[in-house]
């Protein structure tokens, strides 16, 4: 139902008399088309209106769209291309317009292609540079590989043995420092309770056995873990101070034996304790 209104565009005509004929012809054609439109308009005004709500909108619109698309398709299939009146002046003016548009489009195409060309040149340069660099990397990697291959030192047991011994000495030293710092840290912050218990808890039993420090508890647990891997449980004796046992259990450092509540083992998570020294 849309009209091709190209014919209605104002046509620039020169002020020549013999153009008047061309104009008359065009205007007559336009009048005919306009009459057709008025007829269609009259028919249209007879069609009723219909409004939509949210609920029925989708379905009715889809049906309507389908019908209208089918009608449009029909229309396109029936239509034959119309020829513009073969009048010299009309053709001339239309031709001039078309050529103007064509020239404008071609200029745009020209500038686009020029910029594309430049971009391609840049891309080519860049890719070339990357290729060169990658070839250089490949070469240098090959040389490094060859050097390393030739550098293989004859296999000597004693040399490896000595290397391992030095490593072990280093690690043992490191372990001693760690243990020492751990011990110091634990002593500062988790000391054994001394005899100055608060007076209000008079009925607290005096610890009967000698209490061992938290450091020693941890050492026992870790040693048991490494010595007897299949049964790394330690019996809780009276020399373990109960609050420290609770501390270890609550933080996941030690776990109770599933069946026997008097035995505990080291939880794996604590094997790598990091020592945070407060530098106050």
């Amino acid at each position: 139902m849309s009209m091709n209104q190209q014919d209605l565009d104002p046509v620039n005509t020169a002020d020549v008399d013999d153009v008047a004929d061309a104009e008359k012809e065009l205007i007559e054609e336009c009048e005919e088309i306009w009459k057709d439109m008025e007829e269609c308009q009259n028919k249209l005004s007879l069609v009723g209106t219909e409004t939509l709500t949210n609920s029925n909108a989708q379905l009715s619109l889809l049906i309507m769209q389908a019908k209208c698309l089918a009608a449009e398709l029909n229309q396109w299939q029936k239509e034959t291309p119309k020829i513009i009146p073969l009048n010299e002046d009309v053709l001339l003016t239309l031709g001039k317009e078309e050529f103007q548009k064509l020239r404008h489009d071609l200029e745009m195409v020209l500038s686009t292609i020029q910029s594309k060309n430049e971009k391609l040149k840049e891309d080519l340069e860049r890719e070339q540079q990357w290729l060169d660099e990658q070839e250089q990397i490949l070469e240098s990697l090959n040389t490094v590989y060859n050097e390393l291959k030739n550098q293989v030192v004859p296999f000597s047991e004693s040399r490896i043995f000595n290397e391992l011994k030095t490593k072990m000495v280093n690690i043992k030293e490191y372990k001693e420092t760690l243990l020492f710092t751990l011990g110091g840290f634990l002593e500062d912050h988790f000391p054994l309770p001394d005899g100055k218990v608060k007076k209000k808890k008079k009925n607290l039993q005096e610890p009967t056995a000698q209490l061992i420090t938290l450091h020693e508890m941890l050492e026992i647990l870790i040693n048991k873990l490494f010595d007897v891997p299949h049964d790394p449980y330690v019996k809780i004796s009276d020399s373990f101070w109960p609050p420290y046992i609770e501390l270890l259990l609550r933080n996941g450092i030690a776990l109770r034996h599933p069946e026997d509540p008097n035995r505990a083992r080291n939880g794996y998570g604590s094997v790598s304790l990091t020592v945070i020294l407060q530098s106050q």
Binding site: Q41, N54, M64, Q65
Partner: protein, 180 residues
């Protein structure tokens, strides 16, 4: 209760008319200015309205494209649009209606969810455009796009009708982006 009908009058020569409906007056005014500044072969008329139905005492040319502008920051504008939709004839929705949502950029101030507008546009089978109308550059590009759509809807572009444009712009249900 007058209902807007798409082909109720004969068209004026070489003229295309667009109707912008929204509660946001300032934005509409600016958008109208940008549209009128576009150079276009046909003559443009831009009508602004707060809501439908339009007062019937004014004579106006036939309307080729209606754009409903929803501001995602205010629920009131969505309500307004939903009510105005009831005064539009069903045959308008064959490509002559478009929804425009503004303010999608500032998510923190959006009181309407992105998906609400999407479902609304989907229910009425019309295209939905997003644009931040407050920023000038975006407004100008949106004005260009609207002018092009208007020309097609008014029939000034040979070979394509409003309905064919609509079928090109249709999108089925889009998946949510949350699982990306």
């Amino acid at each position: 209760m007058s209902v807007l009908r798409p082909l109720d009058k004969l068209p004026k020569l070489n003229t295309a008319t667009i109707l912008l409906v929204s509660t946001e007056d300032a934005l509409l005014q600016q958008l109208a200015d940008s549209m009128l500044r576009e150079d276009c072969a046909s003559q443009l008329n831009v009508h602004l309205a707060k809501s439908l139905p339009l007062p019937s005492n004014v004579t106006r040319p036939r309307i080729d494209l209606i754009v409903f502008v929803v501001n995602l920051h205010s629920k009131y504008s969505l309500q307004n649009v939903e009510e105005s939709l009831r005064h539009v004839d069903a045959s308008f929705f064959l490509g002559k209606v478009c929804f425009l949502a503004t303010g999608a950029g500032q998510e923190s101030r959006c009181s309407i969810h992105h998906n609400t507008v999407v479902t609304l546009a989907h229910t009425y089978r019309s295209p939905l455009l997003f644009c931040d109308l407050k920023m000038e550059d975006f407004r100008v590009t949106m004005a260009q796009r609207l002018v092009r759509m208007l020309q097609i809807c008014a029939g000034h572009t040979p070979g394509i009708s409003a309905l064919s444009l609509l079928s090109l712009l249709q999108s089925p249900e889009s998946p949510s982006l949350e699982d990306l």
